[in-house]
Symmetry: C2
Subunit: 115 residues, 2 copies
């Protein structure tokens, strides 16, 4: 079963809202915890938006792999997706990215002030 104690309430001795907060942060961190996805983010933002093919051409990754990474970034809310003819337009959501940055900063701050 495995069922992590942090997956659902009741398995942890902490208030649920605190934990769910950590879960939310962790989820977005997870999306950024792969070098390919960080590079993709940079590439997307350098150009203003890219289709999948452009990313594939730039990195030595199979098209299916790139598509997967893009999907993960979209699901994490860090990248916006818009179908454009037979292409797909992927665009960095700068606000969401800034939000992640703010979350990390908040965590760091809470750690420096004794929570």
């Amino acid at each position: 079963m495995t069922e992590s104690p942090f997956e659902s309430a009741g398995h942890c001795r902490l208030p649920e809202d605190v934990v769910s907060d950590s879960r939310a942060i962790a989820a977005r961190m997870a999306a950024l915890s792969h070098p390919a996805r960080i590079e993709i983010i940079k590439h997307l933002s350098a150009n203003n938006s890219c289709c999948c093919r452009e990313v594939v051409d730039r990195f030595d990754l199979a098209q299916s792999t790139v598509s997967q990474h893009l999907k993960i970034l979209v699901e994490a809310g860090l990248v916006r997706f818009e179908p454009d003819r037979q292409r797909s337009r992927y665009e960095v959501d700068r606000a969401a990215l800034a939000d992640v940055s703010a979350s990390v900063a908040a965590l760091v701050n809470s750690c420096c002030s004794g929570r």
Copy 2:
């Protein structure tokens, strides 16, 4: 074999230093991309330092699991470890944490200024 294109040089069409930069960020993000580890970080910093047992008592996780999480945090350079008699003292490295925050902020900034 699997061997990610980002694991070693030559598999990627990008300058190695750039990629290794992304790898470094990704590694630290990975350490923070688990709710338990975020909670542990908070707990460590709320108290000034903890031994493993204190963390175990606080969360519903087996001692071996907590020890594992702590090890991951130490290896990521986010937590300092110091053996203290038969106990272990774990302490948040606030500078390292601030560094992570800065890295993320830099990534976000580079994305906002067109890299």
